[in-house]
Amino acid sequence: MSSGTTETDNYVRFDAVQKSYDGESLVIKDLNLDVQRGEFLTLLGPSGSGKTTCLMMLAGFEPATHGEIYLDGRPINAVPPHRRGIGMVFQNYALFPHMTVNENLAFPLQVRRINKNEIESRVKRALEMVRLSEFGARRPGQLSGGQQQRVAVARALVFDPKLVLMDEPLGALDKQLREQMQYEIKHIHDNLEVTVVYVTHDQSEALTMSNRICVFNEGIIEQLASPTDLYERPNNAFVAQFIGENNTLPGQVTSVNGNHCQVQTDGGATVEALKVNVNASGDRTTLSLRPERVEVNPEPGKFPNVFDARVEELIYLGDHIRTRASVCGQTDFIVKIPNASEHAVLQAGDSVKFGWSAEDCRALDVYQGA
């Protein structure tokens, strides 16, 4: 624990939390995480990385094996789930099938012994919020996936919780509906000033909705940052690889020069890069470069890094053209060329020059994944 626990802005706080299901392996390894009041924080990570486990510990369904979780400054490890007052949207919605939509929404209010009229008006308001006013008398089984999802959101919010957890609530929806729902959830968040902890493994969803994103991998936080930082300035090779598209060039640091370093790639080229996650010359490194930051046939002298390339394949994607090329001995180097009039039309087999700045090319740790 570093600073005082009374810091008012930290609504949720994981303090050195560890979790093991079987006593043999740690699913969560030393989690320290602060969620600010009113924040929309997304846990993002590959399947099995422990996102649901985090939510379950926060909601009280799984005990933390070690460490303490604080809610609004109070430790809640000993508080049973029904006294935590946290709203939750489950991965499969968990709408009660034997109750109508109205009854589902009234349930949290009834157990709080709120009077009948008040319940009625709050249920009505919640249904209006998710635009399902005519569906109150139906059972969940009679609703489409998107409608069920909205009911689940309404039920998680109807009792005015300060904190709402959502576990891949949009996972089962098709793309268009998902985008619409992303917008609606974001809208609700902005209006109600609740704190949201959101779980997804869809990175574009994370990028569009979140104030901050916490990238998980195998039970540790790889990076916790705003969407922009995460995309523009990944701290390590995992994050660079996981968020957005990314070219990687493995190599070795040959010299370090302030913020920058020179890297000899395994393909034999010497690249000028930003020093992020390497220490000294001789270190192995992975260079990370976004496909849209590469310029085709740049003006001479504009970039320190200019290399010969051979176009291997072009994929037309409407607003841009995805180009696969061989550069520096790498045959799967991807470049996104905007589909704008001033750009020359490339053909497969063309020889061109690719150039990029040292700032856009980040020297990260060695990527261990696939």
């Binding site: 909601a59 009280g60 789930p81 029904h82 935590r84 968990a94 349930f107 157990v111 109150g136 039920r155």
Partner: protein, 421 residues
């Protein structure tokens, strides 16, 4: 339920103008037809082994043509009799001809039936059959017959013919509930000493109820464990639950005898440990208690399995969601978990109750005198007394009780179920 139609008035129409309901039915017809073909063999099988025997059972329980076939002339003459005084010569002649010219086998069966109505009929006709031909050469018959056996002069015998006149009778059903017809076809209670069945019906229902409740109380927690335990343990538990199925019923009952009888394991242990005196051993076998204990054990799997199969389909997230929404575990169980298990509970209750109500092997073996049930009576009348009409009537009453229960079940659980999907 809210109406699903949004239109203000009139039935919905499809694009070509046919009512929506009609086109929906038409579009589903093919698949319905195919489904019907698939179930056809099963349907035939059911009809042959199930529907036909039950129809026979029903018809036998009201069939009363035996006497009509044996004494046709008598019943013609019966129409013009005042039913108060001794019948006139014509009726004596009729019954004389019926007895002397009738087929022996038909008359034999008829006399068995007549004996239910009034004991004595059988011996009277048997005796008369032997002597009539030898001693009576021609009319008048009346006095000659009374001379052979004075019971012919007893009007109460003649009066019982009234109860046998119709080719259908409710007599067996009345008998099954300790009632009978008097001479004027009014329903009256039997004499006190001959009333047995009503008490047996009550005992049967009470025992089935106790067994059902006992099974439910034991099965629900076990089923819950089965559905929620990690696979390794639940498999083991499942084997324990199914074990009784793999053991012969008789072996299990004998095992219970060893446990429960007066000198059995339980009593001996209690006496040995000083909790009971030697004279006050608990009577747990050959009585009502023994029947209840053994039947609960035997029927338990029929309660566990349907409940388990329903619980298995309820994801744990519902309980979690309920608690997350603020319900303490007990309330979450009551409001969210339990209602979802109701179809299984209903199925188990119905199954166990129906099996229990018709059970007869266990009561036969461990019931003693006050553990006998209706099922044992049916078996008795089928095998020993050969009163098949009464056995059929009792069987029909059982069936009716079961159908009634099923209807109630459908009203309470089934329809609610249908609303769910």
């Amino acid at each position: 339920m809210a109406t699903l139609e949004n239109t203000a008035s009139g039935p919905l129409l499809t694009a070509d103008g046919t009512p929506l309901k009609v086109s929906l039915a038409r579009s589903l017809r093919r698949s319905k037809l195919r489904g019907a073909l698939l179930v056809l063999p099963a349907l035939l099988f059911l009809i042959i082994i199930f529907v036909v025997p039950i129809a026979q059972l029903l018809s036998r329980s009201v069939d009363d043509t035996l006497v009509n076939r044996a004494l046709p002339r008598t019943f013609v003459a019966f129409e013009s009799w005042d039913r108060q005084s001794l019948p006139a010569e014509a009726m004596f002649e009729a019954i004389f001809l019926d007895i002397t010219t009738g087929e022996k086998y038909t008359i034999g069966k008829a006399t068995t039936r007549m004996n239910y109505e009034k004991p004595g009929w059988r011996s009277l006709i048997k005796k008369s059959g032997r002597k009539f031909k030898k001693k009576i050469k021609g009319p008048p018959y009346r006095d000659a017959m009374i001379k052979i056996d004075k019971r012919w002069g007893d009007v109460t015998f003649w009066q019982t013919l009234g109860a046998m006149k119709d080719p259908q009778t409710l007599g067996y059903f009345l008998n099954a509930v300790d009632r009978q017809y008097d001479a004027n076809k009014h329903v009256i209670m039997k004499e006190k000493e001959r009333r047995v069945y009503v008490m047996l019906w009550w005992r049967t229902f009470l025992l089935s109820l106790i067994v059902t409740v006992g099974c439910l109380a034991m099965a629900y927690p076990v089923a819950h464990l089965l559905a929620t335990l990690p696979l390794r343990y639940s498999n083991l538990l499942m084997i324990c639950v199914l074990m009784p199925f793999w053991t012969s019923l008789l072996v299990r009952i004998v095992a219970w005898m060893v446990m429960l009888q007066n000198n059995g394991v339980i009593n001996s242990t209690l006496v040995w440990s000083g909790i009971l005196d030697d004279e006050n051993r608990l009577p747990m076998m050959y009585n009502f208690t023994g029947t209840v204990i053994v039947m609960i054990q035997i029927l338990l799997p029929f309660m566990i399995l349907p409940i388990y199969s329903v619980m298995k389909t309820i994801p744990p997230s519902y309980m979690r969601a309920a608690q997350n929404l603020g319900a303490p575990p007990s309330l979450a169980f009551l409001k969210v978990y339990f209602p979802q298990t109701l179809p299984g509970v209903g199925a188990g209750v119905i199954l166990v109750f129906i099996v229990a109500i018709g059970y007869y092997i266990t009561p036969e073996l461990v019931g003693g005198k006050d553990g006998q049930l209706i099922g044992n009576m049916i078996a008795y009348h089928m095998q020993k007394s050969l009163n098949w009409g009464l056995a059929a009537a009792m069987g029909t009453l059982l069936l009716a009780a079961i159908l009634l229960l099923y209807w109630v079940y459908d009203r309470i659980v089934g329809i609610d179920n249908m609303r769910m999907n």
